[in-house]
């Protein structure tokens, strides 16, 4: 059948050529019925689709389109000062947007009423002061800075004319006291006044989008502060400082100085709490300085670890007499001088080296200038000038030169890490970045120093710092404090510089306790070995797992190969009988370890 253009007849002539109308209609209706079925199929499909989508939207929509949350859009969070974060990204300092209240007194017609209302909404304001401000003839007076949203709402509700708010930012320190001496604090206008906030104030303001990442680990910081607090309480000390330090990179992993402060509200505090003992305070370090004296002696090539020195006869120089408090009344090897912390031995060693070499070595160790640490609180050492013979002698056992704990830790790191001095830093070193360093002692010297460190904890004054499996080494230190021109008998600084694991040193844990008082438990002693060494042990026990340091069997041959040293200066552990380490020189009972502590001759 041939269809005209539209498929259905238009004109009469098409009808005349077409079959009879009745037949045409019947055929057309047949086609329409067929097409009606097609249409019905389409209709069914459309409604079925709606049904399917309905099931999907009702029962299976949770996984499909996430629900949109129409949360209140807060003021954009971009602030004008960068955050400070720890090495793991934990927030240590951040900026919050706040509103500050000010007034234009010219616009206030009834200052009494306005002042009364404001004081009712903000009770911490003083009526007289507010009234004075509002009745003045200035065009701008601050009434209160950094209001909370609740306070702002309360002031809004008063409907007082002539007062207004200005957007400001306020520094907020989520870690609070925990990092107070590291992070520092800012003033009311967000300028840094202490700590990193001061040291990096410009950087924080110029690049607000990038947080400043520190080398500090908040977890270690917590352990350190907790143990220092406990030690202060136990020994009724007036303060303490502590540092955890990565000897391979020079990164400060934790640093605490007690007492500390709340960086949120540092005003009106005792200046003592704002004082950073770990970096700004410089102290005579006492016996811990024998680390550097021994390194100097061994590195000179003139003295070997088995050489013996007279520790019997006191040394007189000018009006001073140098003595050992509890002398063993015999000659001591270099190892024993370190082990028993003999002053006489130390002096005799440096006498062999010479004054100039000693001074040059101390300069290499960084004791002539402030450390490279980025904190503004960075103490200048007190070194003698001129450097006379008497200075040389006292410096050999840690008196007559004052350095900060940070100086001591950074220098000690170079002595045990293979001999490379890394400038200390409180910023995180990026992985893969080159670490600046300078070879200051030979690898052999460093190797022997590691053994001496281990010897002190394995069989010397630092036994209580030992933690099974972590191969701890270290050196105690006790120094009487000078008040005015005299040393005080019962006012001392007790410290312990510990490191672990000694077969492959990674971290130094340093604790300094200011004026500890002896307790019954310590048999009347308040020296480094009794006060600071146990604290270092407790800290290592807690932070070792956090730092992923694997524990080892301390008597395994490979560990002894790397760490063994006996009193005679031998590193061959295999020759020793089972009880060998103590056979060369019977160790004094625990109470007598103090015998070898530096005890200045009067008045010294």
């Amino acid at each position: 059948m041939k269809f005209p253009p539209f498929g259905l007849p238009f004109r009469s002539q098409s009808a005349s050529t077409a079959p009879a109308p009745r037949t045409t209609l019947a055929a057309a209706m047949e086609q329409s019925r067929y097409r009606l079925m097609v249409t019905a199929a389409v209709v069914t499909t459309v409604f079925a689709t709606i049904g399917v989508k309905l099931v999907a939207a009702t029962l299976f929509s949770q996984g499909g389109e996430p629900r949109q949350h129409h949360a209140l859009e807060l003021d954009s969070t971009t602030t004008n000062r960068a955050d400070i974060v720890d090495r793991n990204g934990n927030l240590l300092a951040t900026s919050l947007v706040t509103q500050s209240l000010y007034a234009d007194p010219k616009l206030i017609s009834r200052p009494e009423e306005a002042a009364r209302k404001l004081v009712s909404a903000l009770p911490e304001l003083d009526y007289k002061e507010v009234y004075g401000k509002l009745s003045g003839d200035k065009r701008f007076v601050w009434l209160k800075r950094n209001l909370t949203p609740k306070q702002q709402y309360a002031v809004h509700r008063l409907g007082v004319p002539g007062i207004s708010f200005e957007r400001e930012e306020r520094r907020f320190y989520p870690a609070g006291n925990l990092t107070s001496h590291v992070v520092g604090f800012t003033g009311v206008d967000n300028n840094g006044l202490a700590g990193l906030e001061q040291g990096f104030s410009k950087r924080l303001n110029e690049d607000p989008a990038t947080p400043l990442q520190l080398s500090i680990d908040l977890r270690l910081q917590h352990v350190l502060r907790k143990e220092l607090t406990a030690t202060i309480q136990e020994f009724s000390a007036i303060g303490a400082a502590g540092i955890v330090y990565d000897v391979r990179t020079g990164e400060v992993m934790a640093m605490t100085s007690l007492p500390d402060f709340d960086p949120q509200d540092p005003t009106g505090l005792n200046p003592d709490t704002l004082f950073n003992r770990a970096t700004l305070g410089v102290y005579e370090m006492g016996s811990t300085f024998k680390i550097f004296n021994s390194a100097l002696a061994l590195d000179s090539g003139k003295i070997r670890v088995s050489d013996t020195f007279d520790a019997v006869h006191p040394i007189k120089i000018g009006r001073f007499t140098i003595n050992d408090y509890h002398s063993l009344h015999r000659a001591l090897t270099v190892a024993e001088v370190f082990q028993h912390s003999s002053n006489l031995g130390s002096v005799r060693m440096v006498q062999l080296i010479g004054i100039a070499a000693q001074r040059a070595f101390m300069a290499k160790m960084g004791f002539m200038r402030p450390t490279a640490l980025e904190l503004p609180e960075n103490g200048w050492p007190l070194a003698p000038n001129p450097w006379r013979e008497v200075n040389s002698m006292t410096i050999s056992f840690g008196h007559g030169i004052s350095v900060s704990p940070m100086h001591t830790v950074a220098a000690a790191a170079s002595v045990i890490n293979g001999g490379v001095f890394h400038p200390p830093t409180i910023l995180r070193r990026q992985p893969g970045a080159e670490i600046p360093g300078e070879q200051v002692v030979s690898r052999q010297t460093s190797d022997m120093m590691r053994r001496m460190f281990r010897f002190v904890v394995a069989d010397g004054t630092g036994k209580s710092a030992g933690v099974k499996g972590y191969v701890v080494g270290g050196k105690t230190g006790t120094a009487d404090k000078q008040k005015g021109r005299h040393y005080q008998k019962n006012s001392r600084m007790s410290s312990f510089l510990g490191a672990f694991p000694m077969h492959d040193p990674r971290y130094i844990v340093y604790v300094l306790v200011d004026e500890p008082k002896a307790t019954a438990k310590t048999y009347g002693y308040a020296t480094g070995g009794w006060v600071a060494a146990p604290a270092v042990g407790r800290i290592i026990k807690q932070i070792g797992p956090l730092l992923d340091v694997p524990t080892v069997d301390e008597n395994a041959p490979e560990i002894l190969n790397a760490t063994f040293l006996n009193a005679a200066g031998s590193t061959n552990w295999a020759q020793q009988a089972p009880n060998a380490p103590s056979s060369a020189a019977p160790p004094p009972p625990k109470g007598s370890t103090v015998a070898s502590f530096p005890t200045p001759a009067k008045p010294r």
Binding site: F6, R11, P21, A28, K53
Partner: protein, 373 residues
């Protein structure tokens, strides 16, 4: 229920025994469900636009439902010839009114669609839809039954005149529905299959042109294609409502979507149904709409009257298409398009026009014996 004797030869008796009672029941059920849903969905709308009486929309809806039922029943009494005449008269009046809106109409949101008569606002384009479907069916059938009458050409001419009026308003939703219905009728009337494709292509080109040249259409379609391109607030809330409802719904009156959707009593009433009455009810509603359409198709399938077949199909496709667009919009199956859900949504003109259209369907699907022409 009033019963009529099989032998009752009164007008109502004859009507009762010849009318499609299943169809009638389905429509009555839709009206009932619509009233329930508007009662649930409209009070928050009234509150939002500041009307004191929270049942304002419910009362208005019931007020319009009574004349709508009256019109439907009245029209369903007509013979096919009477239907044709009524549709023709309605078409002429509605067309004049559509053009009148361009002059005396009230402009709402950039379109002139409404004529205000004291106490009542009328949207003439609603009435032109069913009327034109019947008139077009008549013209198509005439070209078959009265050889020599150029039915298709007249139909094309009337289509053009109607389109012009609707596009000038502008009322694109109505334009689309009228076009789709007319095209389907033309298809049913035996349009050459090549021309079916050609006109189909033209329709797609028309939609594409609207997308290119009418900014609000562009925006609607963009937002449909890319949910993140702009504000999809209504559809997002609607989809949340369905998810919230689940299988059984939160219970009548317990939904929350009506508090946040501006058109919850009209264009998005299906979302309120989904939330408050759940999946099972909504599937039933979809099936009910499909039933009305397919039931009508089945009734006229074997009808010997060509006009009846084309007119009924046209009216039912219009009814079904409108329902599908409304439900599809709420379910994010297509770009949102303001279209009422037949007999469910609130809307005075829409309800009266639907009563008129459904009355004609009922009239045309009545059992007839012997030639009725």
């Amino acid at each position: 229920m009033i019963t009529f004797d099989r032998t009752d030869q009164s007008i109502f008796g004859r009507w009762w025994w010849t009318v499609d009672r299943w169809q009638l029941g389905a429509v009555a059920l839709l009206m009932f469900l619509g009233t329930v849903l508007i009662t649930a969905a409209s009070p928050p709308v009234a509150e939002r636009i500041g009307i004191q009486d929270m049942f304002y929309f419910v009362e208005r809806h019931l007020m319009m439902l009574v004349p709508a039922i009256a019109i439907m029943c009245g029209v369903s009494l007509l013979s096919p010839r009477g239907v044709r005449r009524a549709a023709l008269g309605m078409f002429v009046i509605a067309l004049l009114l559509v053009y009148a809106t361009l002059v005396v109409g009230v402009e709402i949101k950039g379109a002139r669609r409404w004529i205000h008569i004291p106490g009542l606002s009328i949207q003439p384009s609603e009435f032109i839809k069913p009327a034109f479907a019947v008139v077009a069916a008549w013209l198509f059938s005439l070209s078959r039954t009265s050889p020599g009458f150029p039915g298709a050409l007249v139909s094309i001419a009337l289509y053009g005149v109607t389109m012009a009026g609707l596009i000038l308003q502008p009322d694109l939703g109505m334009t689309f529905v009228v076009s789709a219905v007319w095209f389907t009728q033309f298809f049913l009337a035996g349009l050459n299959i090549m021309l079916v494709m050609g006109l189909g292509g033209l329709g797609i080109a028309g939609l594409f042109g609207a997308y290119l040249f009418l900014p609000h259409v562009t925006s609607r379609i963009n937002r449909f294609l890319d949910p993140h391109a702009g504000d999809n607030y209504q559809v997002n809330r609607s989809m949340e409502a369905f998810a919230n409802g689940g299988l059984l719904g939160t219970g009548p009156g317990q939904g929350t979507v009506k508090f946040s959707l501006p058109d919850s009593h009209a264009d998005f009433i299906f979302a309120v149904a989904g939330e408050e009455l759940g999946l099972i009810f909504c599937l039933f509603l979809v099936a009910l709409f499909a039933f009305v359409v397919l039931r009508g198709f089945a009734r006229v399938f074997n009808d010997t009257n060509y006009f009846v077949l084309l007119a009924t199909a046209g009216l039912l496709i219009q009814f079904g298409l409108q329902a599908a667009i409304n439900m599809g919009s709420a379910l994010h199956l297509m770009p949102t398009k303001g279209m009422t859900l037949p007999f469910i949504s609130y809307g005075g003109s829409s309800l009266l026009a639907l009563g008129f259209g459904m009355g004609m369907v009922l009239a045309l699907t009545r059992k007839r014996f012997g030639p009725t022409e």
